[in-house]
Point group: C2
Chain length 679, copies 2
Amino acid sequence: MTDIWVYVALGISALSYVVAAYFYQWVKKLPTANSKLDEVGSLIRQGAFTFLKREYRILSIFTLCVAAIMFVLFPSPIWSDNVNLLSNLSMVGAYIFGTVLSALAGYVGISIATIANLKAASAARESIQKSFMAGFRGGAVMGMAVVGTSLAGMAIIYLLSRDSNVTMAFSFGASSLALFAKAGGGIFTKTADIAADLTGKVELGIPEDDPRNPAVIADNVGDNVGDVAGMGADLFDSNVAAMAATMIIAMALGEISFMFCLTSLGLLASIIGVLLARMGKNGNPSRALNGGTYITCGIFAVLTFIASLVGAYDLRMWGAAMVGMVAGVIIGLTSDFFTGDDKKPVAKVAEACQSGPAFTILTGFSYGLLSALPALVGIGLAALISYKLCAPLGEGYAMLGISFSAIGMLSIVGMIISNDAYGPIVDNARGIAEMAGLGDKVLEITDELDAAGNTAKAITKGFSIGAAGLTVIALLGAFQEVVAAAGTRIVFDLMDPLVFFGMLVGSAIPAVFSAMLMTGVSRNSQLLVSEIHRQFSTIPGLREGHATPDYARCIDIATVGSIRELIPAGLTAILATLAVGFIGGVQAVGGYLTGNIVSGLLLALVMSNAGGLWDNAKKFIEAGNYGGKGSDAHKAAVIGDTVGDPFKDTAGPSINTQITVVSLVASLSAVLFLTYSLF
Amino acid sequence: MTDIWVYVALGISALSYVVAAYFYQWVKKLPTANSKLDEVGSLIRQGAFTFLKREYRILSIFTLCVAAIMFVLFPSPIWSDNVNLLSNLSMVGAYIFGTVLSALAGYVGISIATIANLKAASAARESIQKSFMAGFRGGAVMGMAVVGTSLAGMAIIYLLSRDSNVTMAFSFGASSLALFAKAGGGIFTKTADIAADLTGKVELGIPEDDPRNPAVIADNVGDNVGDVAGMGADLFDSNVAAMAATMIIAMALGEISFMFCLTSLGLLASIIGVLLARMGKNGNPSRALNGGTYITCGIFAVLTFIASLVGAYDLRMWGAAMVGMVAGVIIGLTSDFFTGDDKKPVAKVAEACQSGPAFTILTGFSYGLLSALPALVGIGLAALISYKLCAPLGEGYAMLGISFSAIGMLSIVGMIISNDAYGPIVDNARGIAEMAGLGDKVLEITDELDAAGNTAKAITKGFSIGAAGLTVIALLGAFQEVVAAAGTRIVFDLMDPLVFFGMLVGSAIPAVFSAMLMTGVSRNSQLLVSEIHRQFSTIPGLREGHATPDYARCIDIATVGSIRELIPAGLTAILATLAVGFIGGVQAVGGYLTGNIVSGLLLALVMSNAGGLWDNAKKFIEAGNYGGKGSDAHKAAVIGDTVGDPFKDTAGPSINTQITVVSLVASLSAVLFLTYSLF
């Protein structure tokens, strides 16, 4: 009987696949404008799949190595007396299952995104509404598939094992793959974007997406592998991690069924939301995207309220989920304030651009720093309120409240992914339209759709950082739970020097991790810039548009470069966790996770928002303010945007995943730390 | 008998005054080159004192307001039954005493620095050794006076009150004044520096310190009010705070006398160190500065070891102090690695400058992020080892160990201030030499002395951030002690949502604080740039050097601007502490302080080191690498340096003080939070 919601979850997951398949067919059946379009589209598609194949090849080797290590160590080392090889095998199986599903999420995303981009470009010749629908439904295929897969995966893992170690291994599989996918894709996309901008827009003065630019296809490939595939893997991971943390805490309390209730109904609400989403005759695309988000929230609130009453779940638990959801919306709105192009910060940064690049950077970075406050207060309050709300239900429920609020914030993740994937699809549509010469009217429409994507992204990014914040607090609770299950009740006392030591080290890790990713982007884009210069100087007629550049060579450079960079950064974070654990034991790890969360959230917020702010300040100037395109202010804004690119699309969003991975590594290794540690 | 070291402290403080007076006379008696020099010097001196006067006027009003509030509230609100008005009055007295001494530290600094700069410039005509001695002994006047004053102040407070509340009030006075002095001076100096560079070097192509530039005097005034007076107040504050935290913890254990032993012998070691410091015939100034630091460390180690044996102090406590000292040196060396102009990071950033300003920023910021790791690990390890070292001595001793390691790290603060103040003095000497036309040979010498100042600064900055880190950990212990004294033993459990809430909010505060300061710099320097443009367009003959610019107007703009900005940033940090305390009580405040420490240290390290790195990368290019002055790489480097200026001289170093102030506010208000809080 308590399993009923697990089966409902499987059913709704199946429904989400049906919707995804329907949208997939719907998008695929849209006509393409001309053969030039198909040609450009297939170049992008090939490039994206080539990257994915090479990335996944490296990652499968990595996964197998980790699987071997896991088999030897978890849950009990094979040399210990109480080892049960079947348990070790189950964990390895769950881990591999997690990586495969996470990889699949990226794969599905690219498959649909590289079709939907063409269709959206073509549809823009007819009307903005049609083009919007192509972009949005393309994104929704991914949204439905990702959330359906994560929910079904979790339900299957639960039904087969009912074991928290196996759940963790599954989540770790999803997260570790997401970490590398996000980092690798993030490095690729910004390598290509920066190199294309610097050579094309700045040096040669040719427009964005001009087909003469050798890096232009790589840039569009980047949108897919970074923003679509990477983001898909990332939100797959957040969603799985939130559920895993909840399950670990809920299992001891017998409240598993409410978790599946929340997540199933969240997916159902998202399904209804994406089916209803539509752009009115004279409506604007931003309103359509955000409207969909609010409607989904409303449906989720009503459905879960009814389910709580019917299932006789305590309304405090429902309240915790609501607190999370509302906090998500508020955090999203504040991040919209700091990055929205109709708000004061963007105008101020654009104004500072007139005084040169140094002021552009200082002003944008300062606003980025300020933007962290409301989001951190929001996450803190959500955690505090949901904890206090559920504390009266009994011991252990308070922490469960926090994890329910994370689930609540992620409830509408299906809608969020749809909105998020919409962005790079219409961005690509714009590029394809330019390259295929579909004319100014089409460019105007795709520009408007693209701008709406940027605004929606601010809100969804707020959601995802907020959710990651609550999730990792819950994961910290899960870590404590795991240690307790091993027989040691610990309190992480801030005045314990091991905790403090761990905290200081932990706080440095997101900084080091970001630095490694950003250095990777710098290094690779400098390589790519050299290659572009080489092509312009050795291919006759390229500058005049009489010759075709060697697009493939640029894609290759970005691919090789990002694959070389993606492993070290992720590995550093994992190894630091193990080092702290083997030096300072579980106390130090508790501190380490906390330091990691605190500085990770801060840096993620600062970088994401500062990056978005610079991007929109540039667009604000390009819209004709402060001298418009080509003015000195615009040049300064381009420099700000270039700095912001790896901030917002490489380092910032990867930090979430880094925190999750580190938390899971800690929980998995907790018993080892208890047994073998220096202090 | 246990008070003997307190009297020794008073004696050695007196000795330090004698040395300061001797150096003062020595520097003053050096000849000045010509009347033009005196004229420029007096403009700078006047400007500095005008700023100081206006700043102190505002701050005295602020101080009186705070004093009134303190009288009403501390240690017990005057409406409570057990109030003792004499206690409240003592606290107010100690608070005012702290502010006055802290202000005095700044005043003494400016008095000597604005003489020593002239003398160092003049002496450079004779030899580099003589010029070095003028700069160094000028700095040493300040070093001796600041440390002597803080030690004597602490000894007096202890002898008069023997009360931890009064000690805290004294420390709060020192810190709150330091916070505003540091912020105000930091905004002033960077406002003038950036505006002078942007208009002079970048727009007009005239050299640094060219007398035609209207902001040139303001720039030199800034070196004094920001780098000398602000720094003096800052290290006065760190030193007092470390002693206060130690006293609060040590008082309960009866170990006060060892604290005075360490601080007295530290000052004695510094006195010997500065008396011995000398530049060899063919020696280089960097070696002279760093050599002095190492010698002082050695003397301190030997003296305190003997004193421990003679006084029968447990060697574990001595060990804790040594751990702090060694950690300080190591942290200093790592920060030297990240900012030194002969090391890899500077070369890499300079190389990135060739690819434009965006890469300059990205590469420098990435190295800044990386640089946080070794320092944070160092602070964490120092805390951990000193804690474990002293834990066997009994309950409460472990935390005392951490505070002794902070004292150990600050033991040689007299030497550190001397080195630190040397920097702006010789920097000023260079400016004065340029303005008074003392010729190329003098400029060459002052350039070399200036470069040595930058290198020494990296090491001393490592020391001061490290010491602040340990001090605030000790202050956290002091906070817990204060709460315990009020009858509530608390454990700051990381899993307590109040602690977590406080931590998230606390981590945002240094970000907000830095953002406010940097925005202040941006805003004011834009104003100042407009004024400079106005002067060039309305004063005929200015560009050709036939007319004198209106220096005073520029000084006035920088003064008014920075005074307007200094109060809000500091007040925000203080009010946020009170808000968190009244919402979440002492648990939330414990988390808040921790979050503040973690993110504050991280941001301070990243900003200070990235700023130093950009500065030195610019100098590296100016030395003829990658195209040298005027090349595109140089232009990019100037942009990096401009971004780095408020990072390293306004926001970065003010964060230390912000953390200290917030910790003291928390301890002072602990009882209020226990009585009146929402949760």
